[in-house]
Symmetry: C2
Subunit: 427 residues, 2 copies
């Protein structure tokens, strides 16, 4: 009996899936007794269908896939939360199992998707939505479930990790690093989703939901990107024994879930600090397992297709055995999200200011006024044209107080020459 697949989306990842199917069709039969048959392919792009050699089974209307009763599994690789949402929900309603790589959809409408799968008695699988080819959702939903997970932290955006790596090792400015990443094909022409942390926010919402058994959506995630980071910051961090990563953080605390994405100072001896370039890694801490890390390529045709097809093969096993979904939504608790303002941590803040008498004193008094205790202040770099970088590191302070400090300093007349660079410290 073959398990019949309909594919929606013929871009990079879709192409990777078609390639795997062609290359390993016979291996899957021999090793696992699974005979996968790609019976229908849909996208808005007939040229890609020709390119991938699937124009004979191509359509531009996904409803044709839904109407084909022989199709067991629909792969959704359209992305976004509009058409993709309809495809996923309609497919489930039509009695198809669905495999998707869609992080935005799962991080925004995850509950709705799970409910639809549940109502249809079908499976929804989405390993490729986080960490590309790295197995992380499956381990969290299977191997690690005897643990209470206290923390899940990840470098889940390859673009920004590449940029930060290059800024650190070659002293590139933010703009230079971005241009280099674009030239290498690691960053989009419009890099917003990556550099502003939105991509990472969707991923940590998904990971936190699974890890903490409580629904976290992208809107719950406090998000800051890397636009204000400069090589000065990476150099300063390094001098203090830290590196700077755009970290996606989920902590389960007694009072709720602490979930956020922002530039983060990590001790150099932390295992995540060893993850450089476009690589991704997710660091999971559980009460029994202790510390674990899952490392690999977070993007690209092959890695993402590896995850998608892993899901397809797993669902196919269930289809063949006539097994109903074994694991659905596991968000059985309703844990509150801790408001960002209430969090306490250490802060690194760099101000680019006019080199003038009195600036240090007025900044110092504003920190003091808001009860933020300063651990160190260092002037970094050369004075250029009357500009100077002042680097502050605080003792543990409350986010609300630090925000107030930043606001008040920003309101000072003619002091700041650029937006401050704020890096939170994760010890």
């Amino acid at each position: 009996m073959s398990v019949r697949i309909g594919l929606v989306g013929t871009g990079t990842v879709g192409g990777g899936c078609i390639e795997i199917l062609k290359k390993h069709h016979d291996d899957f039969i021999r090793h696992y007794g699974i005979d996968l048959e790609l019976v229908r392919v849909c996208s808005h792009n007939p040229e890609q269908a020709v390119e991938h050699g699937v124009s004979d089974i191509f359509t531009q209307d996904y409803h044709e896939l839904l109407a084909d009763d022989s199709i067991d599994i629909i792969i959704e690789l359209v992305g976004g939360t509009t058409v993709a949402k309809s495809i996923v929900l309609d497919s489930l309603a039509a009695g198809k199992n669905v495999v998707t790589a869609n992080k935005a959809l799962m991080a925004t409408f995850g509950q709705e998707v799970f409910d639809a799968a549940d109502a249809a008695g079908k499976e929804i699988a989405f390993e490729a939505s986080v960490g590309g080819g790295i197995p992380i959702i499956d381990p969290l939903k299977h191997s690690l479930i005897s643990n209470e997970i206290s923390s899940v932290m990840g470098i889940v955006n390859g673009t920004t990790n590449y940029m930060l790596t290059r800024m650190g090792e070659a002293g590139l400015s933010y703009d230079e690093a971005l241009r280099e990443a674009q030239a290498q094909g690691f960053a989009e022409a419009n890099p917003t989703a990556d550099v502003d942390g939105l991509d990472a926010a969707a991923k940590i919402a998904i990971l936190s939901s699974i890890a903490f058994n409580s629904r976290v959506v992208i809107g719950d995630v406090y998000t800051e990107g890397i636009r204000n980071i400069s090589p000065v910051d990476l150099e300063a961090a390094s001098d203090m024994g830290y590196c700077v990563k755009l970290l996606a953080i989920g902590h389960r605390r007694p009072e709720g879930i602490d979930v956020r994405v922002h530039p983060t100072m990590l001790p150099l001896n932390h295992q995540l600090s060893t993850v450089s370039g476009v690589f991704n890694a997710i660091y999971v801490t559980g009460d029994a397992v202790g510390e674990t890390m899952f490392f690999g390529q977070g993007a690209g045709s092959g890695p993402a297709a590896s995850a998608v097809m892993g899901d397809v093969l797993e669902v196919a096993r269930h289809v063949m055995a006539g097994v109903k979904p074994l694991v659905g939504c596991t968000c059985t608790d309703k844990v509150p999200i801790i408001p960002m303002k209430e969090l306490k941590m250490k802060y690194y803040v760099r101000f680019t200011v006019h080199d003038r008498i009195g600036v240090l004193a007025s900044i110092a008094s504003i920190f003091a006024e808001h009860n933020v205790s300063v651990y160190s202040v260092v002037q970094r770099g050369k004075k250029v044209g009357g500009k100077v970088d002042l680097v502050y590191v605080t003792h543990t302070a409350c986010e609300a107080d630090v925000s107030a400090v930043l606001e008040e300093i920003a309101s000072l007349d003619d002091v700041l020459l650029a937006e401050p660079s704020v890096i939170r410290v994760e010890d």
Copy 2:
């Protein structure tokens, strides 16, 4: 409906399982709808039963567990290949699913165990047999199966990784590092299984079997331990941009499977080089996913119990859903093992010799005679009492030729003052 568990073995890992069951019983019901009930515990050690608070369900005869028709899953944590083998095979024959942490059993009698499970229509799960708490068997059997795996390499023995780390960072001798590891509880009083590489050999046999879909048993694994390694070697490696790890290596080559355990020089920029102390990591390369790594604690009560209980919960899901085993033995191919003598690689060899005129010349002529081309020779360390360390690094050479070189040099009268340290290079 509860899923009923029988536990055989009440040592460190068994204790960890009992603890998880106590702590998270209600969580498992709430999150996953799985009600686990520990109904019978067996070992030779009634004191441990008292200690773990299970003396009311304790027996010293495992046959009582087999005779209890209400038991769905037997956990085997006895270890070894004698009694444990009977427990596992008898349990399967009695219609129980089995979860085990037994690497020696799976690496030696894996096929027999799978056949017994198959005949009984029951499951055998063994995530804890490799890498402690690190999910690796499950990812290889699920998330990554759309890949053709070309390589699986691991630091899978925490004892030796701790020792090598300490020898490197603190210049400890082998004996000092061993004593320290023993004092810390990271090494056994009899460290043979660890330092001679036997523990790692069992693990790479298991990983290779799964990764390459072909049965590899412990006897197939060429194995050398770390007894001849000294701080001089770690220092020399570091100078060349390498670290030294006891690496368990499985490569799928066109001509067969290359599987071995030995001290290995790894480039410092390889991700496995960042794994220090008692941590373990497994590095997997697949044709679609590219490079991935799974990192965590390879031993200890919590980590091992995490893996065991992860398996138990997964099997319990299947029991509750009335699902027959979905994945059994996947060794569907019969790929030959490449004899060690036929492999080609680069070698680092350190000879401790009498500091005498003529020694360099006679060693050089023996390398030449066997067609082993020397890339560099360096005298390391201080001459002490007429002793000197000569470090050779070869170009790519054949194992058979290098063996012949080593044999002939060993046979020279009055030249070697210690067994040579041989470290193979993995680039």
